[in-house]
Amino acid sequence: MISWFSKYFPNVVQLGWSGDAGWGTSIFQTLFMTFWSAIFGGILGIIFGVILVLTNEDGIRPNKFWFNVCDKIVSIFRAVPFVIMLAFIAPVTQKIVGTQIGMKAALIPLTLGVFPFYARQVQVALESVDQGKIEAAQSLGATVKDIIFDVYLSESRSELVRVSTVTIISLIGLTAMAGAIGAGGLGNTAIAYGYNRFDNDVTLVATVLVIILIFIVQIVGDFFAKRLNHQSR
């Protein structure tokens, strides 16, 4: 088995498991970038999504100013192609992380790249909560905080899991591009060690690993989305 593998995938084996170019390293880098930017981008996305819903015209605290500010921020960041974003915010990254290259530096553009996408999805998910439930909560004297957590976020949780799954999957796509600023990861392996060296076996294995990763995220996401849903029988 092993000899068969090294016969057809010589370059894959040559890269090894650990070391700078190793498979273990690049898998770790992809997971690291996906995980932390999902956390940061997720928090930012939820905050922006919630503010957009609350301050909207028919939200519970309508406020044209804050709605417009958040709406524009989200729209502008969404409009910037990710590869350009990587370069564009490099000075900001330098300020925050202390370096412009590497896995940690990539977290800043990844977070900024993913949060507007997520914020819009959160906005749609929250807006799908029946207005009647909000009114019922208001009639019970619920505070804004109660309505955010116990009505909006709680009632749309299955939908939130679903959009989070979609977001994480697209985030994995973004981490592949982060290789461009030396962040490593499976995408970088596929391009730098596979494509650029004409070692197609490396590209193939890296691609398969990314696909497996995405499948796992999808399956776990679907499981929880279904598990958390009590909206209909």
Binding site: G132, S139, L140, G141, D146, D150, V151, E155, S158
Partner: protein, 353 residues
């Protein structure tokens, strides 16, 4: 002082091209403690919009609103802080047509949600929530999710939730409209029971006069954003003044269907149809025989019904009177003397103009 005092309230909704819809137009309404006040009207009449101003789910454009002695709105401006409003809202329970329960938490958690600011510890919270579920006979469903319950049961959970903070007002916004007759009856009985037991003031918004007849002691009829007639249910029922009220009172679907099935389109000029509504207790004589003997008109019955109006039997008769103009005028006068409410109908069962 009235528990709910609505004065000259307007609610306008801006529409496209600078048009404005006057959903509620210069409405004043006083509700006294312990009333079960019905508000009827067709959909779009503004009844829902009107009562939603009571707990400020709908902010009025103009007017004054005072609830439980606290002024919420003065000259169309909110004069209560949002924080204080939250506290005041807990004294005004509300139930809705679509129940509006939280679907992702259990029944008992739905009730507990309402008690979040009641200052109870976990143990007390559970005890009180279960007590409330017991009040609506749903203690055994405490750990079920709303979706596993029938419509009637969901509405009872909503009632338990609305009552959690011991409100003295309960607003029912078409709460029985999505339910079958049996569940409707159950919910209405429950509202009546709560009214008696807890001295709860109930506002019942509905487009079904039947619901009002069953439990209300006062009623307001709304049309085009205005209250066209209001007062004691018995008074309104026996002596309706406006055409729409008459229609709600007597021109029920059943009457109209009965008349339509008789195909009376060939009435001659000496025939006319009247709807008679009267309290059975007041009319003991055989009025129809009297009419024949004293006035000489022939009266044939087309439709008859007796229903309970807040436990008082009220009769409705639709009759065809054969006789000339003069005799018919005498007939109407005679019936009015006997405290019968007479409304002339056309052959389709609509009030005759």
């Amino acid at each position: 002082m009235s528990i709910i005092d609505i004065k000259h309230v307007n609610v306008d909704f801006p529409e496209k091209e600078n048009k404005v819809v006057h959903a509620v137009h210069d409405v004043s309404l006083q509700v006294e403690k312990g009333d079960i006040y019905g508000i009827v009207g067709f959909s779009g009449a503004g009844k829902s919009t009107l009562v939603r101003t009571v707990n400020l789910l709908q902010k009025p454009t103009e007017g004054e609103i005072t609830v439980n002695g606290n002024t919420f709105i003065k000259a169309g401006k909110q004069v209560i802080s949002n924080k204080k409003l939250q506290v005041e809202r807990r004294k005004i329970g509300m139930i809705f047509q679509d129940f509006n329960l939280l679907n992702e938490v259990t029944v008992v958690e739905n009730v507990a949600f309402a008690l979040k600011h009641a200052g109870l510890n976990d143990e007390e919270l559970e005890k009180r929530s279960l007590e409330l579920l017991d009040l609506v006979d749903l203690k055994d469903k405490a750990n079920a999710y709303p979706v596993e319950l029938s419509g009637g049961q969901q509405q009872r959970v909503a009632i338990a939730r609305a009552l959690a903070n011991k409100p003295n007002i309960l607003i029912s916004d078409e709460a029985t409209s999505a339910l079958d007759p049996q569940n409707t009856q159950q919910i209405l009985d429950l509202l009546k029971k709560l009214n008696t037991k807890l001295n709860l003031t109930v506002i019942l918004i509905t487009h079904e006069m039947d619901a009002v007849k069953k439990i209300c002691d006062k009623v307001a009829v709304m049309e085009n954003g205005q209250i066209i007639e209001n007062g004691e249910l018995r008074q309104i029922f026996l002596h309706p003044k406006k055409a729409l009220t008459k229609r709600f009172v007597g021109g029920s679907l059943e009457t109209i269907n009965t008349l339509n099935s008789l195909h009376l389109d060939t009435l001659n000029k000496n025939e006319a149809i009247y709807q008679l509504v009267y309290s059975i207790a007041n009319v003991t004589k055989s009025i129809i025989i009297d009419l024949y003997k004293k006035i000489g008109v022939e009266v044939s019955m087309l439709y008859g019904n007796v229903e309970l109006l807040n436990d008082e039997p009220i009769g409705t008769l639709v009759v065809m009177v054969k006789g000339d103009q003069e005799k018919r005028t005498k007939t109407v006068r005679f019936l009015k003397q006997e405290e019968v409410t007479v409304t002339r109908l056309d052959e389709k069962g609509n009030p005759y103009d």
